[in-house]
């Protein structure tokens, strides 16, 4: 099977604003691929280009081997989408919406089962405008994969969902992948991306600044491991800095926080045992995608300051 999604040197500007700049990535079939980054990073513009809603200024986009800007009729049958800033007619009922969207496709999943599973079975005759935000979002989720698409694009799917529906969404995404569906997940929830995605592309000001499996990105951090413990009485954390694998030690609110590389836990525990300092409470954690994001964003903003200082006449891009 072809690559599910291939983006080559994509560039899109709105007037003087560069929304996406030289973005290239490939998504393999059956993958859950995350597009992550802060608001304004270019995630939604990228999604709009791959759905054919916008025409790239430069570069190319191929979805399931087709070019979305040509509006190939087959593509819409094989792609499902949940978009931001999209709506249904305010007075259409849930059942009518499913009938209508069902009529667009040659084959669909059983609508009743979907309504049951997504807790909308009692809302069949409710108009769209009378649904709560979460219910509207769940209806959009149903409409996105009603027709068993090969590729599903979900743009900020968790927004407006309560914790239970968010959990359901995660289960659904995993089920879709198990059925072989490729999922492009756009999100600014780093925990969601880390829990679900096989690989993520981190966008920052329209550029891809990191692209890999979440675990690999975390491993690449200087200090992917963390240990924090309640400081025992009269404990001096300073000597911990010299322990094996420790890169950073901080003390805050009566808690000692240590960051470091592999075997951090062993080395901290050894140190504590040698000092005969037994903390009441100790947690070992791995860094998260959030840390990757914060580290990269931090590095980038300091580089940018330097670049601007070196080239004051240059327009920031």
């Amino acid at each position: 099977m072809d690559t599910a999604l291939s983006i080559q040197s994509l560039r899109k500007t709105y007037g003087a604003t560069v929304a996406v700049d030289d973005l290239s990535l490939k998504v393999e079939p059956g993958e859950i691929f995350g597009l992550i980054g802060p608001n304004g990073a270019g995630k939604t513009t990228t999604v709009e280009c791959l759905l054919g809603l916008r025409r790239p200024d430069a570069g190319s986009v191929q979805v399931l081997g087709m070019t979305p800007q040509d509006n190939p009729p087959d593509l819409a049958h094989r792609v499902g989408a949940q978009l931001q800033e999209a709506a249904l007619p305010s007075r259409i009922t849930v059942a009518e919406a499913l009938d209508l969207f069902g009529s667009f496709y040659s084959e669909t999943r059983a609508p009743d089962a979907l309504l049951d599973r997504w807790g909308l079975a009692d809302e069949r005759t409710t108009p769209f405008e009378a649904l709560s935000g979460g219910q509207q979002q769940r209806l959009f989720v149903i409409l996105a994969f009603l027709h068993n698409p090969d590729l599903v694009v979900l743009d900020e799917i968790s927004t407006g969902l309560d914790p239970e529906a968010r959990r359901d969404t995660r289960d659904l995404i995993r089920e879709l992948r198990a059925e072989g569906t490729t999922v492009v997940l756009v999100t600014h929830f780093m925990d969601e991306a880390q829990a679900l995605c096989d690989r993520v592309a981190l966008l920052h000001e329209g550029r891809c600044v990191a692209l890999d499996a979440p675990a690999a990105l975390i491993d690449r951090l200087d200090a992917p491991y963390r240990v924090r413990f309640a400081a025992p009485p009269a404990f001096d954390p300073a000597p911990l800095r010299d322990a094996d694998g420790v890169t950073q030690v901080a003390r805050r609110d009566g808690e000692v926080r240590v960051r470091g590389r592999e075997d951090l836990l062993t080395s901290v525990v050894r140190h504590l045992a040698a000092q005969n300092a037994i903390p009441d409470d100790l947690h070992a954690e791995r860094a998260t995608l959030e840390d990757v994001f914060l580290t990269i964003a931090n590095d980038l903003s300091s580089t940018q300051v330097q670049t601007e200082a070196l080239h004051p006449e240059k327009e920031p891009s």
Binding site: L51, G52, L53, P73, A76, H77, V79, A81, L83, E85, A86, A87, L88, P89, S90, R91, I92, E96, D99, L100, F101, S103, F104, Y105, L143
Partner: protein
């Protein structure tokens, strides 16, 4: 085809759920029929050509429905669909853009025909208004005037960026025409200068085309040319400037 039919049926139900659209398409013409009918009656000779007032005024009420569908109904419907992101959602389905616009055109035309039948039935029953002698010619006039104003509505829906703008411009165009085109008030009551001036209003031509066909069994060539020209121009420009988002 299944998609188009389902969409058209859904849009029909949605149209009837909009109180404003239903009022101006169905209730308002009926209200004028009964109110002016009660005032002026339908006695022979109460209007030119030895016909009754209500008989004479009826094609005008149909023109009014045409004006409200083309100037208020369709532009607002398109603006709402664009503003709220409904067109955006449709864009990522296999539904063709032509189907979305086609369904709107069919629904608005069907509403025009339904409203005309209802209005004519009521006029026949209550005021004994005779049916047009040349039915097909009258139907032709109805369709030409209807399509021409739907093209205007399509253009307005294409160029006006928001729902608010669509409603403001639609009202600004509709209400002067309502009173001055002979739609609500027959032009035989107008002074000559106003009759002449009113030829600048497109709805005057819709009213005159319908009156000529309905009352005299004649085809008003000049008015039909104006309506064809306006329809073709608006549809062409509209198709060129229409945006989905």
């Amino acid at each position: 085809m299944k998609a188009f039919l389902t969409l058209t049926w859904t849009e029909t139900k949605l149209f009837l759920r909009e109180p404003m659209a239903t009022f101006f398409t169905v209730a308002f013409p009926l209200l004028l029929l009964f109110a002016f009918g009660a005032i002026f009656g339908n006695g022979p000779g109460s209007a030119p050509g030895e016909v009754g007032y209500t008989t004479y005024a009826l094609p005008g009420y149909v023109a009014l429905t045409i004006g409200s569908l083309g100037l208020l109904g369709l532009p607002t419907a398109l603006a709402v669909y664009r503003d709220q992101g409904i067109l955006r959602r449709f864009r990522v389905t296999p539904l063709r853009p032509a189907a979305v616009l086609g369904a709107q055109a069919v629904v608005h035309l069907a509403m025009l025909i339904a409203s005309t039948l209802l209005l004519t039935g009521a006029a026949l029953w209550v005021f004994r208004v005779p049916l047009p002698e040349r039915l097909l010619l009258t139907l032709g006039a109805l369709l030409l005037a209807g399509l021409s104003f739907l093209a205007v509505g399509f253009l307005l829906g294409a160029v006006l960026p928001t729902v608010r703008a669509a409603q403001a411009v639609g009202n600004a165009l509709f209400f002067p025409m309502l009173f001055l085109s002979g739609a609500a008030i027959p032009q035989f009551l107008f002074p000559e200068w106003l009759k002449t001036t009113s030829l600048a209003l497109p709805l005057t031509h819709a009213a005159r085309l319908l009156q000529a066909a309905w009352l005299q069994g004649q085809w008003n060539g000049s008015s039909s040319l104006v309506l064809v020209g306006m329809g073709v121009a608006c549809a062409g420009v509209g198709a060129y400037v229409f945006r989905w988002t």
